[in-house]
């Protein structure tokens, strides 16, 4: 689809709601109306919101499981290699491959790798850090981290149509609907 200069300047429409219930209801209606490039912003995790937006469940758990198993292998491999090949010494009459005493380090490595996968996996998949984002220029958006609930329909949504979408969002009992630009500060340069 060809985008005009005007439409590519616009990031999307952001509607503000007064409660998580209103946001949830609106999100369901937006999904049912066929919008796909949507997002919602809330000061607390709202249960059911991702379902309402049609977002797939997160696959982070499998990543963490893989991370943990990798950690276990690294821990065991490291100790086995060090104790058997790199630096073989008999200590207190124990065999070179003293698996009982390797357990603790294997465990710690498992946890370290799994926890790292959880946090960095989450950050990377969320594309954070991202200091600037167009929705930040929405009026009152600072409330999104206190008590504001916002719903955004992006301009790149195939169903997006400036006037019509605006009217649709207003019909969802939003407090306020704003058109948000991609780079509000660039206005005078362009």
């Amino acid at each position: 689809m060809m985008k005009t200069a005007e439409s590519s300047r616009i990031y999307g429409l952001v509607a503000e709601f007064d409660s998580s219930e209103a946001l949830l209801k609106a999100a369901e209606q937006v999904r049912d109306a066929g919008y796909t490039a949507t997002d919602a912003f809330s000061p607390i995790p709202v249960h059911g919101l991702t379902d309402a937006l049609g977002v797939r469940p997160s696959r982070l758990s499998s990543l963490v499981l893989m991370g943990g198993l990798t950690g276990a292998c690294v821990g065991l491999g490291l100790q086995a290699w060090v104790s058997i090949l790199a630096y073989p010494h008999i200590i207190s009459g124990k065999p070179l491959f003293s698996w009982p005493s390797f357990f603790p380090v294997v465990f710690e490595c498992t946890v370290l790798f799994a926890a790292g996968s959880a946090v960095f996996g989450m950050l990377i998949r969320n594309r954070l850090p991202q200091p600037y984002h167009p929705v930040f220029s929405t009026p009152h958006f600072e409330k999104a981290t206190t008590d504001g609930f916002f719903l955004c329909i992006q301009a790149n949504d195939p169903k997006y149509d400036g006037q019509e979408t605006m009217a649709f969002l207003k019909g969802l009992r939003a407090i306020e609907v704003t058109e948000v630009e991609r780079h509000p500060d660039d206005e005078d340069k362009s």
Partner: protein, 464 residues
């Protein structure tokens, strides 16, 4: 801290409340973020931080002295090579454990009362582990070579010895610190964003903005965030148990009388939780008083913390009992001598009986409900327990080492002023870091309190 009048007539509602009535998202967020965003602090906190800073001077001096002269400035010598350094290491690590316990295990058990104290407790963990880490680092004698502890290819062609519990410690403590830091920071991200959005000064906005990494509360982000947080909690729970178990193995895998006993891992873990919860109380009681957070850290919290302390205290007492019984039942003359002729009646008898008094007798006061919900006696009990748990490590380390199998190698141990300087110095460092935390970061997890409020509103709606 005078006893609150509310304690006199507590209704069922007040006793079970994890957050007082009449709060909204706006009011709780405001109440908590105000602490970080107002430029002033209560005088008592400033004083607390200054004392911390002063004691840090002692820390710096003691470290400098140690680095210049060597570990000879400490009271350690044959046969007690593990003096204050290990006692304080174990003490601090133990204190740290309650933080992880509160944030992870209580999270998994969906204990709502954790919400108001978890951030506080997690910060306590981070700072306590930092203090703990200093001791083995300095105890190696040449701290600038401490990286030798890690397995890395080197020109000496030497590798660490993985059958040693000290090596397990290196992995356990560094993993514990890393994972606790990740857990703490992950929990902070949404709150840092809140501070960014509420801050008035540009500097604060930039600072909190960078730290929050541009968090905007997107539904997609929250989804992954919640999964990550749950998984971190699930991972931290066995981690915290493993860490103190490994610390206990530092002692237990040896054959020193008094150290080599199989109850050590769970008994150390219980002791760690015990001392950690005591430290949470020591810090939380003044803070809730000074910042007027009685709505958020309610008497119900104090009651619950006290119950956990009572339960873990009894487990610790069970451990002491088993130690005594098996010293006799083993039929091993060295074990028997160590327990009955040395620990109980030897030159350090006072430390053993003081320990029993602090950890065995005093916590029994917590059976009384009135004490569990009265801040002042609780505060005193928590300090007694902190002392008791320190004494426990003193008893374990010193009495077992000072008389081993051969009377010819017996000796006594007394800490020097540099030992005390370092110990008090780490307490100062802890106090100072705690002050910085109180000043700059939200001391209660704002988004979780909001969530709790939301849930409560929802539940009330159902009943009507």
């Amino acid at each position: 801290m005078a006893a609150e009048p509310a304690t006199k007539a507590l209704g069922h509602e007040e006793m079970t409340a994890v957050i007082a009535e009449g709060h909204s998202f706006e009011t709780v967020t405001d109440k908590i973020s105000k602490i970080s965003l107002t430029p002033t602090l209560p005088r008592q906190i400033i004083l607390f931080g200054l004392i911390g800073l002063m004691l840090m001077g002692a820390l710096m001096t003691s470290v400098a002295m140690l680095v210049v002269k060597g570990t000879g400035v400490w009271g350690i010598n044959q046969p007690i090579g593990w003096g204050f350094a290990i006692i304080n290491f174990v003490w601090w690590i133990g204190i740290g454990h309650a933080g992880t316990l509160i944030s992870a295990i209580l999270f998994l058990f969906r204990q709502e009362w954790r919400t108001s104290i978890n951030r506080f407790a997690e910060s306590m963990t981070i700072f306590a582990v930092m203090c703990a880490g200093l001791f083995p680092l300095l105890h190696v004698g040449r701290p600038w070579l401490a990286y030798w502890l890690f397995p890395y290819p080197n020109v000496m062609q030497m590798w660490p010895q993985f059958r040693s519990p000290l090596m397990w410690d290196v992995f356990a403590v560094s993993t514990y610190f890393s994972v606790s830091l990740l857990f703490w920071y992950t929990g902070l991200i949404p709150d840092l964003a809140t501070l960014r959005d509420r801050a008035k000064s540009k500097l604060a906005r930039i600072g909190y903005g960078m730290a929050s990494m541009g968090w905007r509360g997107s539904a997609r982000h929250w989804q992954r965030y919640e999964v990550a947080y749950l998984l971190l909690a699930g991972l931290s729970t066995p981690l915290v148990i493993s860490v103190h178990s490994i610390v206990s193995l530092d002692f237990a895998v040896s054959v020193i009388p008094g150290w080599h006993t199989t109850i050590f891992p769970p008994y150390f873990v219980a002791g760690a939780i015990f001392s950690g919860f005591a430290m949470v109380l020591t810090l939380a009681i003044p803070v809730r008083h000074l910042f007027g957070l009685k709505d958020l850290i309610t008497l119900n919290h104090l009651n619950n913390i006290s119950k956990v302390m009572l339960a873990t205290g009894l487990m610790v007492l069970y451990g002491y009992g088993m130690e005594v019984f098996f010293a006799w039942y083993s039929g091993n003359q060295y074990e028997g001598y160590m327990m009955f002729k040395n620990r109980m009646t030897g030159p350090y008898w006072w430390s053993y009986w003081a320990l029993i008094f602090c950890n065995g007798v005093v916590p029994q006061l917590l059976w009384i409900k009135k004490i569990r919900i009265t801040p002042l006696p609780l505060f005193v009990i928590s300090i007694v327990i902190n002392i008791g748990m320190w004494l426990e490590r003193f008893v374990i380390v010193v009495t077992s080492l000072h008389r081993d199998f051969l009377p010819s190698s017996w000796g006594m141990y007394a800490p020097t002023k540099w030992d005390w300087g370092l110990y008090l110095g780490t307490i100062g460092m802890f106090m100072f870091l705690m002050t910085l935390f109180i000043k700059f970061l939200p001391i209660i997890s704002q988004f979780e309190v909001r969530e709790l409020l939301h849930k409560k509103k929802h539940a009330n709606g159902h009943h009507e």
